[in-house]
Amino acid sequence: MIIVLGFVLVAALLNGVGSGDTLDFSSIDGVSATTAYRAKDVIADEDREREAVYGIKQMGEVVKAHNRRVGQSLWELGEIHMQHKRNVADLQPALIQMDADLEKTYADLLARRLELRRSVTAEEWQKIYPRPAVPEPS
């Protein structure tokens, strides 16, 4: 009762932006809205602060919309895979579509990152998006 689920989970790993994903610049550390709060704290200028917070929240919306589309595609993929007679060729179009969707979402988020940069100084940026700690070697 969980055989196809395994396949769907791999596809989800590959194609989901997911909450807390690094590409979701609106929740860089995995906590939704934290980045926007940081921007509020860090940017003193009201106009720039408003622009930055709006930009960060919009990126969150892009990710949410992407996840919604991916969820739907994964559901359809699972339904196809559940039929024994359906083969790899039947699964491929949905996977290709999800891959293209992911690339589009990445491009959209990166364009928004560039846009956000216009309202934030280098010093403020470092406080909003601190350099991640290097993990200890295991």
Partner: protein
């Protein structure tokens, strides 16, 4: 470590007899962060193994099906490592105010190649798994799975999926 893993397995098997679907969630908690990504829980090999052993009784097809499941889990682990590596590099790049679009593009292209290879690997593994079981066995294996998939996707995506 092996003893701990063994006791986890025994515990999981007992729990599975009690309630198969809840086991998926329990395994997530037990296996721990090494096998998780932020997007998806690792496929539950032990629960799947029991499903296959119960359903596919043919002497050579059953081990072949189990081998394909193991292979698929290896693909998942490799994909999770690749994605974690991509995320770490991207977070570092993003922290650099002066990072250029070209730097992002290079990183994206690198990850895209890894992701598409995984996509191909998982398709092949899934096709081989299907070929090892009969239509009736497959039907039994996936019976009532829609509900479980729906619940898990809702957890991963954060929103319900529709028919």
């Amino acid at each position: 470590m092996l003893r701990v893993a063994g006791s986890h397995m025994r515990l999981l098997q007992v729990l599975h007899q009690a309630h198969a679907v809840r086991l998926v969630l329990l395994v997530t908690a037990l296996v721990g962060p090494a096998c998780r990504s932020d997007d998806a829980t690792r496929p539950d090999y032990y629960a799947e193994q029991q499903e296959v052993e119960k359903t596919v009784t043919h002497s050579s097809r059953a081990p072949a099906a189990l081998a394909e499941l193991r292979r698929r889990d290896e693909i998942f682990d490799q994909a999770a490592r690749s994605k974690a590596d991509f995320r770490a590099k991207l977070a570092t790049l993003n922290a650099d105010y002066n990072a250029t679009p070209e730097q992002f593009s290079r990183l994206m292209a690198e990850y895209r190649a890894a992701r598409q290879q995984t996509q191909r690997d998982i398709l092949e593994a899934s096709a081989r798994l299907k070929r090892t079981v009969s239509p009736q066995e497959w039907k039994d294996l996936v019976a009532e799975e829609s509900h479980t998939i729906r619940l898990e996707l809702q957890r991963v995506i954060g929103e319900p999926v529709e028919d």
